[in-house]
Symmetry: C2
Subunit: 259 residues, 2 copies
């Protein structure tokens, strides 16, 4: 949605193109070498920061809808995407923060009533994405005034039930860490043991045992030591490592136990 | 739904009570001491075995709907229930096995057309449940001709996309094994190390490393050795163990790493 006309058409006739009462919301995680980040949008209507999300087109799957939403917000078409939970508590859409119905009607020029395809309980399928922030271009749309990265340790208050969603996204991602080599998307082509260890510390949110991940990745043939060394000055020159693509794809599809 | 009148009312007026285009389906797992089982219903319309499922009432959460469905099929009100994935591929409802539309219209006495609240893509929120089969009473309803346990290693062909769903339920449950003490619901109050080791072998689907689970459970204070020993004849008398309720509830809420 890019203009008020498009938005009005969505409100009045959206049921022709979209599934009713179901949306996707995406926790897009990024890593800047030091911290775990999440991409938030400032919603013009709710006037709070929210996870990016949207309705699902009738001719797309849930996964395709999540890929479209994350592409629209980051400019990257194929992020690592993982469904983590669907949220459907009664009244969750009612929790619209500071949204004032009259203000919204005025903003829009049309009133949403009980007969609207947008009324009724709406469940949200939650996805998380793992993003290379160097290539991401955070973008707003007609409904958002800002779109930017926040540290997961320093978040603003979120709209709807998105605080709960983000907490569940983190829990799921941290469980998946033990079963899928999801760190690959956040590292450069080649990296040192120190770099991958720090990534796992940040992703898992704890120092403890972060060393086990690279060791286990090596044991399972997912990680290979290169001949090349990184030159970081003085007498120190740590060896580079890389992911083995074939073993990586297999582990991503079939799952492993990384502890 | 218990009678043809109730079913006809559901078809024609169900939108008054239920959310449209969203259902829950439940993989209800059980354990008979030797094998992992799953409860299936023979659907009268699809005439295939399916996972039990149903629409979600407007005044209930997804979790409450899953608890209602599993209660209706097993007679147990509070099973260990875990959401594992939502299925929303385009055309998944079209895959109705041997369902013949004319036959269905005749069976029902009314025709479902494109304006029906039941038409359009319907997504399914998948839950798995862990059940004590000794206390479960498999029950049919108006739409099912049979309801019984099958070994997960010897399944009949399933309707809709339920084969894919069940596979994903197993994958998720096997990942959760490493993070939640979900074995408790399948064991008696007290049990031997051999019994819990066998349970983990069956749940995880592999012999390898099954011993690690009870060891780790003990290390984390979830399992306690009792003074009491089991009398199994001869000179053998293995010690009984039990789960520590408080630590168990905490681990179930917060997650652990069981490897």
């Amino acid at each position: 949605v890019k203009t008020i006309e498009e938005f009005r058409k969505f409100i009045l006739k959206g049921y022709l193109d979209y599934r009713p009462n179901l949306v996707v919301d995406c926790a897009i995680f990024g890593y800047d070498g030091e911290q775990l980040l999440v991409l938030l949008v400032k919603d013009k209507i709710v006037t709070k920061w929210c996870l990016p999300g949207g309705y699902i087109l009738k001719n797309e799957s849930l996964e395709q809808a999540a890929a479209r939403v994350t592409d629209e917000r980051t400019g990257i078409a194929s992020l690592f995407l993982q469904q983590f939970k669907t949220f459907g508590d009664v009244g969750r859409n009612g929790n619209r923060g500071s949204w004032d119905e009259d203000e919204f009607t005025e903003f829009l020029g049309v009133k949403i009533d009980g007969d609207s395809w947008l009324s009724g309980e709406t469940a949200s399928v939650g996805f998380y994405a793992i993003t290379d922030i160097l290539n991401a271009q955070p973008s707003t749309d007609f409904l958002s005034s800002e779109c930017r990265w926040f540290s997961v340790n320093d978040l603003p208050p979120l709209g709807f039930d998105h605080e709960h969603m983000l907490k569940e996204a983190l829990l799921a991602m941290r469980m998946h860490l033990y079963h899928y080599p999801i760190g690959k998307a956040l590292l450069q082509q080649k990296f040192t043991l120190k770099e991958i260890k720090q990534l796992y510390e940040v992703l898992s949110g704890k120092k403890l045992n972060a060393t086990n991940f690279p060791i286990k990745l090596q044991t399972l043939g997912l990680l290979t030591k290169l001949q090349e060394k990184k030159s970081i000055g003085g007498h120190r020159s740590p060896t580079y490592y890389k992911f083995e693509n074939e073993a990586y794809e297999k582990a991503l599809n079939e799952g492993v136990v990384l502890v």
